[in-house]
């Protein structure tokens, strides 16, 4: 869809949402689905693998909107292999916020949340999500599961959602540092989580099935490592949305057969691209404002500058999953995640990939309300620049158009690109 179509659609959807949420849910589900099918089948500017990944994510988002039995509401960093092995439906509301913003109907949700007292300074993904629930766009789940990892918003929103729907809530308390004791603590909780899910849904987890899912997750992450290695030597014409899709697909949907297949297709696509890095290469830290017209104009399908990767897609690649020990593996996976623990861990990881991916510079995006990212912005700039990467720290919002200064952002990003060009020359 082009921009004016999106806005037109957004107006219609907003109108429907306020009149009949049930109808609007079905309408949006159909649109997400339809859009997914188109991106998979039609030949567009994106690689076929990208289209497939988009399709898989859209399918999931569409399902999120339709009330289904045995649905679990999870946060993005929740390990979902157990849920996949039990064939549970997942709703991953942060993604839903993204999709709603992409459909240009965020305002009604953001307003609803603020009117109900959600702090203005709250992360807009989560603010929107609360509004989505309040507007009746999120069907009641069977239960809520989240981790305490990454940010406070997880804690607050998911507790709020569990209370709002009056459903059981399970919290995975993630320790900050990685040692044997922490691993044991988290492993125990993950086992408890399985028991919790079994009790809530009445289904049984089959060990064999879990091992299969874990093996698939392992192969999928290996594929993703290959994808990044291929991208290190190539230019890919793509849009910012692709990185958000990657972070959804390789977290919440990790362990699903489709994603493994999609990633294989993407590998084959990338192998066909010439080994050439003509465009300027930017590593993006944190979420991307894919909805923002001016940013899309700069970064989408541009052979002058490319966002090579986003640090939300390689936070969890350092650990090897061992399917024989699923719980220990999941625990390690979380504990070694770049987003867990001190800021240095995340920054060092970004730096390593900036080198490996042959990047020219790093763009550090301070999303509105995201204290964990904002708080480390000065450290990031110092560290990255010391390592030789020109760095732009920029304030913006990946969800809520009301919190940005568009003109200033364009100027700053423009100047940054010019700086990178000058360095290359």
């Amino acid at each position: 869809m082009n921009n004016s179509t999106v806005e037109w659609f957004g107006r219609i959807a907003t109108d429907r949402i306020s009149k009949s949420p049930a109808f609007a849910r079905h309408m949006l589900a159909d649109v997400f689905r339809g859009f997914g099918v188109v991106s998979r089948l039609k030949k567009g500017p994106d690689l076929p693998g990208r289209g497939r990944l988009m399709y898989s994510c859209n399918e999931m988002m569409a399902t999120s909107l339709l009330a289904k039995k045995d649905t679990v509401l999870v946060s993005i960093f929740t390990p979902c292999e157990v849920m996949h092995a039990m064939d549970l439906n997942l709703v991953f509301p942060e993604g839903l916020s993204c999709y709603m913003t992409a459909s240009s109907c965020e305002k009604i949700f953001l307003d609803a949340a603020e009117a109900n007292g959600v702090p203005e300074s709250y992360c807009s993904f989560h603010k929107e999500l609360i509004g989505i629930a309040q507007k009746g766009m999120l069907p009641k789940p069977a239960c809520v599961v989240n981790t305490t990892m990454v940010c406070d918003a997880n804690q607050l929103t998911f507790r709020w959602l569990a209370e709002y729907y009056g459903v059981p809530h399970f919290v995975l308390d993630v320790p900050q540092h990685y040692d044997e004791r922490s691993e044991a603590y988290l492993t125990r909780q993950l086992r408890d989580m399985t028991a919790f899910l079994e009790e809530v849904t009445g289904r049984k987890l089959e060990k064999k099935k879990l091992a299969e899912v874990m093996a698939c997750a392992r192969r999928t992450l290996e594929n993703y490592r290959t994808i990044l290695a291929l991208k290190a030597e190539r230019y890919e014409s793509l849009k910012m949305t692709a990185h958000m899709i990657d972070s959804f697909a390789f977290h919440v949907l990790l362990g699903k057969k489709e994603i493994e297949e999609d990633s294989q297709v993407l590998i084959r696509d990338l192998e066909k691209l010439p080994k050439k890095r003509q465009a300027l290469r930017v590593l993006w830290v944190h979420v991307l404002p894919y909805w923002q017209r001016s940013m899309a104009e700069i970064f989408n399908y541009n052979d002058r500058v490319e966002v090579v990767a986003c640090d939300m897609t390689f936070d969890h690649l350092d650990n090897e999953i061992d399917p024989r020990y699923p719980y220990e593996s999941m625990a390690r996976q979380i504990l070694t995640d770049a987003y867990n623990g001190p800021a240095d861990r995340r920054l060092n990881r970004a730096l390593r990939y900036a080198r490996d991916l042959n990047c020219d510079g790093i763009l550090y995006f301070c999303h509105w309300g995201c204290k964990q990212t904002q708080g480390a912005s000065v450290l990031a700039k110092q560290k990255f620049e010391k390592a030789g990467f020109p760095t732009l720290v920029i304030d913006g919002d990946a969800c809520d158009p009301r919190n940005i200064q568009d003109g200033q952002m364009v100027t700053r990003v423009g100047a940054f690109i010019e700086q990178l060009e000058a360095e290359r020359a």
Binding site: S121, A153, L156, R159, Q176, H177, R181, Y185, G375, V378
Partner: protein, 572 residues
């Protein structure tokens, strides 16, 4: 000296090492250091911590993994400290999490031992448990929410004429006494073990007990299960709640909302940024709240004279209303306040045409400058005065929407005209008169024009930014897009109205509505508010005079020797 901020910090463990832990809880003068080493949108409490650590040259610090802002404060502080430790605090409470906290306590103990070269002494540890159970007699006002700084607490105490108890996140620190001898904790069977084994086991069990004690405190909002927080509001002696939130902290805003829906106890919310507060808004909010609880102290004396005056000393204008014994307005004046409230009030008095100031029996002041007018006999907050004035003008009104120069308020009234609830905008100017004034400048039109021009719109434009600075750049780009001025003004009016409606909702306002203040003169804004509330809004003939009228009515009550509560002259 080792600093700490959280009630879960293991202060006693450090005492066992002979180290005194001191709470770092004062406000900051500014955020100069914090601005240089982190982002301005970090929670103000942590920015104040950074200022305190740097300003006071604190060398040792124990933090608890409370929230994103604390974790990042740790990250930016850690390079320049002699000793800094971030203790992982579990979010859930069960046997496993207790074990995890015990592990963390051990990790801290080892780190501190290695750093300081000191060793742990049980006696010192045990002696440091000096908790006096909180003893409250009689009725009190509770301060809840995010921690308040020392000075803010002192200010609150000075503004409230009854006991104020601090129940903020870090103020409920209370632990039971430990065993006199660690071995008391051993079971008879364990006491059969060799002595050395007994010592080791006893210490481990004490640590485990200590972890449990720490977790057994009243949970703060950062814990997953917050059921036990109920005790904080479950007390018949609790007269009212001052709910404190910190700018850029998200935890406590959620609880405030939850409480608002659940408790009948009167509540007022204050948000601060952990700097030394300008007393202005704080004293209005707390003053208005105290008055709404019927706790106003009467200071008036009987005096002779025919007339009663109210002065509303606002940030932009000063209004005076003079009434007779029957509550009829007999004279009034409006002047610009200027730099000093006193001067403004004198000027306004000098402009009275019909009444000789000598015939005025009593003067009550209200508004920002109310405490700085020497010839006023008493002062009452603008919240209470607005309510009083509005009820006099139209007893059907249940919600007053006041759009002033710097402040917007929504006040909801009960059927007797008493304040039920109120909400004010935070520091930011979005949606206030100042906001429209700025935009008028950008559009190169004057304020009178702006109130007319917005009525003649054709294209329905939206100004999405709430922030004044952002909205300004939005307006600039709309001008650049050749949009029509009336359409832009209409967009601005809508955004002012929308912003105001969030206050109305917060105050739980219902119809009938009345608008006062300078904003009520703007017919475009009034129209947009009417669209949003879905009914006509009553605008008094002189919308700026409502607060002054209320003050004058209080002056009349005082002169007749009646307390604010009993005064039932309103119907007369």
């Amino acid at each position: 000296m080792i600093g700490y901020v959280c009630k879960y910090a293991p202060v006693e463990l450090l005492a066992g090492f002979g180290q005194e832990a001191v709470p770092v809880s004062s406000e900051a003068d500014n955020f100069d250091c914090a601005q240089n080493c982190t982002h301005m949108n970090m929670c103000s409490h942590m920015k104040a911590l950074i200022e305190n650590v740097k300003g006071k040259n604190l060398r040792e610090l124990v933090l608890v993994n409370c929230c994103d802002s604390t974790r990042r404060a740790y990250d930016v502080l850690k390079r320049d400290m002699d000793f800094i430790f971030l203790m992982d605090l579990p979010h859930v409470q069960n046997a496993c999490s207790r074990q995890h906290l015990e592990d963390e306590l051990l990790r801290l103990a080892e780190a501190y031992r290695d750093y300081s070269g000191r060793s742990f002494d049980y006696q010192r540890f045990a002696d440091s448990f000096q908790f006096e159970p909180r003893h409250i007699e009689g009725k009190y006002i509770g301060v809840l929410g995010a921690r308040v700084g020392d000075q803010l607490l002192a200010q609150l105490r000075s503004l409230v004429p009854c006991q104020v108890e601090d129940f903020c996140c870090n103020a409920n620190r209370f632990l039971d006494d430990p065993p006199a001898d660690p071995k008391d904790i051993l079971t008879p069977a364990e006491k059969e073990l060799p002595l050395e084994a007994q010592d080791t086991l006893a210490l481990k069990k004490v640590l485990s007990w200590y972890a449990e004690e720490l977790m057994a405190q009243i949970p703060c909002m950062r814990m997953a299960d917050i059921q036990r927080r109920k005790v904080l509001v479950d007390d018949p002696n609790l007269l009212g709640i001052i709910y404190h939130t910190v700018k850029f902290c998200d935890f406590y805003g959620f609880e405030y909302e939850m409480l608002r829906g659940k408790t009948e106890i009167p509540m007022v919310k204050i948000e601060t940024d952990c700097t030394l507060q300008s007393m202005g808004q704080l004293s209005t909010r707390i003053g208005g709240f105290v008055e709404s609880l019927g706790m106003r102290k009467e200071k008036l004396m009987r005096k002779d004279g025919k007339y009663f005056a109210g002065i509303d000393s606002g940030s932009t204008t000063t209004n005076v209303a003079v009434i007779d014994r029957d509550g009829n307005i007999v004279d009034s004046a409006t002047v610009r306040t200027g730099a000093k409230a006193q001067k403004g009030a004198e000027k306004a008095f000098a402009q009275l045409k019909k009444v000789n100031p000598k015939d005025i029996a009593l003067v009550v002041a209200t508004g920002y400058g109310r405490q700085n007018i020497s010839f006023a006999n008493d002062d009452v907050t603008e919240i209470t005065c607005h309510a009083r004035g509005a009820y006099q003008l139209n007893p059907k009104v249940r919600t007053i929407i006041d759009i002033g120069g710097q402040d917007n308020k929504a006040i909801s009234l009960d059927e007797n005209g008493n304040v039920k609830n109120f909400a004010m905008n935070d520091k930011c100017a979005a949606g206030t008169g100042r906001f429209l004034e700025n935009m008028a400048k950008v559009l190169e039109i004057d304020l009178d024009q702006i109130s007319e021009i917005g009525l003649h719109w054709e294209e329905d434009l939206n100004i999405s930014s709430m922030c004044t600075v952002f909205a300004e750049s939005e307006v600039v780009s709309l001008i650049a897009d050749n949009k029509q001025i009336p359409d832009i003004v209409h967009g601005l009016n809508k955004s002012v109205a929308a912003k105001t409606m969030t206050l109305v909702r917060r105050a739980r306002g219902t119809g009938a509505y009345m608008m006062t203040g300078g904003g009520a003169r703007n017919r475009g804004v009034v129209g947009c508010v009417e669209d949003l509330v879905g009914e006509p809004v009553y605008v008094p003939e002189d919308p700026d005079l409502c607060g002054a009228l209320g003050a004058a009515l209080f002056a009349r009550d005082g002169a007749l020797g009646l307390g604010a509560e009993e005064a039932d002259l309103r119907e007369a």
